[in-house]
Amino acid sequence: MTKHNCIVVNLDKCLGCYGCEVACKMENDVALGEHWSKVILRGPLGEYPNMVKYPLPTMCQQCENSPCVHVCPTGASYRDPDTGIVLIDKEKCIGCKYCMMACPYGVRDWNVATKTVEKCTLCGHLTAQGELPACVKSCAGGARFYGDLDDPDSDVSKELAKYAASDIHTLPDVGNAPATKYIMTSIHGAWKEGE
């Protein structure tokens, strides 16, 4: 049975330290100016005095109906049948960049050296050995979680279970059903993505 592995980010705990971004670069040897993971500082949003500002860690959202996979002409973008993770076979990538156009969030990047598209792999080389993705391991605030959404005992499921549905968010969904979840309660701010 295909798993639904993804990242859950608890923004109530996120420090905005960019540690996940740095760890990703170090682990995956992502070149200067290129990203697989990036923290965006959102805001100030809203109107005074009800304004919010929060760090938003972004990476491949592991969409269940992933448009990048649908448009890829060679099958280079594919969903791994075992882990359910959307991956790129760089040996098949022709560099047409259609997947970059189709990604609603702009979280695929161009590797200048290999002239192929790259993105977050959820550190498959680590998770295959039972380790956590580098961004999760290095998160100073303990805000990032990795696991199978369908497994109630996974870290992501257990963290999500602590919160009401109204506190759990995704990036704007245009039919792609992003699997990545963001937790943000009203104590710490208001979710503004998609507004």
Binding site: I40, T58, V71, P73, G75, C93, I94, P104, D109, V174
Partner: protein, 269 residues
């Protein structure tokens, strides 16, 4: 979003070629002069080939392009297939024309060529209909591709007729340019209004180059050139230049207004 010029030129050039051949095909059903048929067929084939190379130049690893054969539902595969079929249609038509044989077969190929010109350009535009880019995700986009390609191809046919002095075909060519120019005007306006290109910072390019040069100029010049005369070549040249400029500009504007839902990494492609 950065303009992907190789993709712009691919559909603009190949579209002009496909519609030039569609005009040649339409002339199969008329009894007027046929002096422009052979040179127009050659030009159409050359444009299709150049368009194909422009498409390949967009790829960083063209040597892996045959991997697309395993995924026949992708937009790139469909575009490549239709481009190849159109080129094949032109080649077979030219062989029959040169051998002065197969009159019925030529008519069949003419009909196939016209259908392919429509389907090919519509398919090229529909490849960009993506939920991630709201400005593109409308039927107005492929219709705009279709209309502007028709205007450039028909006005090019008008120019070919003017160059070879195919006076018998000028009436049809002029009306074709007028009709296609009018269609390009309407369809471009629909895309401009639905995507916002007609109102934003890119509005000057849209109105001047896409609507006026790409639509109105081929329409007006085609009308003026339809009865022949001393200025026919000048009118045809202006119509063709306008049609091609409009077709290219329409595709460039598409990229200029093509913003994604979010652009987290700040990528411009």
């Amino acid at each position: 979003m950065a303009i992907q010029w190789s993709l712009v030129l691919f559909t603009a050039i190949a579209g002009a070629g496909a519609w030039l051949f569609a005009c040649v095909g339409a002339s199969e059903f008329k009894t007027f002069g046929t002096k422009a048929v052979w040179p127009s067929s050659i030009v159409a084939l050359v444009l299709l080939i150049i368009g194909g190379f422009a498409s390949l130049s967009h790829l960083s690893h063209p040597e892996r392009v045959f991997g697309a054969l395993g995924h026949p539902t992708s937009g790139i595969f469909t575009e490549a297939l239709l481009l190849g079929l159109t080129a094949l249609c032109v080649i077979v038509y030219m062989v029959l024309l040169k051998r002065e044989t197969g009159e019925k077969a030529r008519k069949v190929l003419a009909v196939v060529g016209i259908i392919l010109a429509v389907v090919f350009m519509f398919a090229c535009g529909s490849s960009y209909m993506m939920a991630s880019r709201a400005t593109w995700n409308s039927i107005a986009l492929p219709l705009g591709y279709l209309g502007t390609a028709a205007a450039s191809g028909c006005s090019l046919y008008l120019l070919m007729c003017a160059i070879v002095k195919d006076d018998g075909a000028m009436g049809f060519a002029g009306l074709a340019s007028t009709g296609a120019g009018a269609a390009a005007t309407v369809l471009s306006l629909v895309f401009g209004c639905t995507s916002g290109a007609a109102f934003g910072s890119d509005a000057p390019v849209f109105w001047v180059v896409v609507v006026v040069c790409g639509g109105l100029v081929p329409a007006v010049c085609g009308w003026l050139a339809r009865k022949g005369g001393d200025k026919t070549l000048a009118y045809a040249a202006i119509a063709c230049a306008g049609g091609l400029a409009g077709s290219i500009a329409f595709r460039a504007v598409m990229w200029m207004v093509g913003t994604a839902v979010m652009n987290c990494f700040g990528i411009t492609l």
